[in-house]
Subunit: 288 residues, 2 copies
DNA sequence: GCACAGCGATACCGCACGGGTATCAGCCGT
DNA sequence: ACGGCTGATACCCGTGCGGTATCGCTGTGC
């Protein structure tokens, strides 16, 4: 360290600190989350702001608000931290002798596609063990980005495939799931407009990525089991890909919704992946 | 810092150190490049290895070699460091009041497309200033990845578009450029095989990303000016997209090479880009 | 209207860690 | 066998980071 010029580059620790503060919007709670005291955290953020020459937070006497630049940094810092974590994890995994693949997929979705894929790949010469990680909605992208998974099954337009390489596997229409015996249950088809105006069966509210639920009339649901139970009880309806019909019992009825957006299941993997196992798995998948 | 457990996460400084060593394959030179002494660098790498629980380098008494895990980390660390740099740069730019776009493109390539794009976008309502950065082959991806550019024109299959969102703009065939008056100059077409066996006119050798040149018979070239001069002198030939014919004078002749891979010019931008300016520019581009 | 609660900023201190110099230890080529 | 490379080790020093104590501010409740 020759002198006190601000030529230091940003460290991941500072990014972690900033993300904590930006998420909590409260220095004290953020410090607690980081298991440190509040003053050094305040100073670290000040240092970061000075170094970037940018005001990241507006300090109102009662808490904190993100500036425009701050919300840019929040988004960018998250992906940068994911990239660092991914570097760490992939390096560790590269050093273990059992390579293996980790495949992330949504619980309950694309069951048939998944088993065909796993069987097909296992029959390939040179196939390695595949560990399947079932995760909540929107979680797969995170796993793929931070190196916990090597490959994932995603569904457009629900999941965002930005930043990954993908191959389309399967496209399907959506259906509305109703309680069996509902007056509309034997319709040949319904429109989105009709479904959203079913006031007796509101659409459920899924949690956002941060765990909070959007406001609205429908019940809050966390997974498909809850969802289908609520539908069977006549408290909700839902628009889902038609392949989910395979998991339904006779307490549910389905009606096609032709104008709902088609759902495309894609296989996704991080770019620059040099793994032949990933390439083999993708090749198997596209042949199905 | 409660105790001496190895629960610290990887810092960007350590990644920078490792990349320097992995690129130089020599602690002394790497330390010089980092403007620091060699011993602390050695220790930092040891710490990193201990923390990851992985051997990254084989220390032969005469220099250093990357392990399997080491080369994984080299690749991953580069993208992670680019992501951190991008976070820094984009945050700084978000704080400046003049938004502006930076567009990276290869020098000399797609001149006509570029001017149509710039004119078309400038006519859009809400258009912001566009700064054009001309850069060497393969450099655009770097600029896009580390936040120095917001959008780039790339050419498949020369450039890799992995990790970016892209839209195809234009596909063209390739032609071979010969000195005017060459015996083959008035052929209606040639095959790749014919071109590569022209021993009197070897294909030139472009520098790799690290600046080194591959071995071979042809002359080394750094840019298109050098290339076309060498061709005019009867020392080389080259296969280039046909749009480059517009920049040629009468000292060159071109012959189509139908079996050369078609070149697709795409517009690329980093995923998660929330900038409306980028979206507008892309929309303009796809309408051309 | 004033005291208090809650927030982030500041002051000050101690230590651990990052960096420097000097030196050691192996391995090659001559 | 011995210099001349390499990277590793020993030891020291300065500073930068984190800790505690406290301040300054502001909105709030009685």
């Amino acid at each position: 360290m020759v002198n006190a010029r601000y030529d230091h580059a940003v460290e991941t620790r500072e990014l972690r600190y900033f993300v904590a503060v930006a998420e909590e919007l409260h220095f004290g709670r953020a410090a607690q989350r980081l298991t440190m005291a509040q003053p050094p955290l305040s100073r670290a953020i000040q240092r970061l702001e000075r170094r970037l020459g940018v005001v990241l937070l507006h300090r109102n006497a009662r808490g904190v608000a993100l500036t425009e630049a701050g919300s840019v940094l929040l988004r960018e810092a998250r992906t940068a931290l994911d990239a660092v974590e991914a570097a760490e994890r992939r390096t560790r995994r590269a050093a273990t002798e059992t390579p293996g693949l980790v495949l992330a997929t949504k619980a309950g979705a694309s069951r048939e596609l998944l088993s065909k894929l796993l069987d097909g790949y296992a029959a390939e010469p040179g196939a390695v063990a595949v560990e399947v990680v079932l995760c909540g909605p929107g979680e797969q992208e995170r796993l793929l980005r931070d190196g916990r998974a090597d490959v994932a099954l995603l569904q457009r337009p629900f999941d965002t495939t930005a930043g990954f390489d993908t191959e389309d596997l399967h496209t399907e229409q959506q259906v509305v799931v109703l309680p069996a015996g509902h007056p509309l249950a034997d319709r040949t088809h319904m429109s989105m407009a009709e479904v959203t105006t079913l006031t007796d069966l509101p659409l459920p509210r899924w949690p956002r990525r941060d765990g909070s639920h959007p406001g609205g009339p429908g019940p809050q649901v966390r997974d498909h089991t809850q969802l289908f139970q609520l539908i069977a009880l006549g408290r909700a309806c839902a628009i889902v890909p038609e392949s989910l019909r395979a998991t339904l019992r006779d307490e549910h009825a389905t009606v096609p919704v032709p104008d709902a957006p088609a759902v495309t299941t894609v296989i996704a993997w991080p770019p620059h992946s040099r793994s032949t196992a990933v390439a083999d798995l993708v090749r198997t998948a596209t042949r199905l």
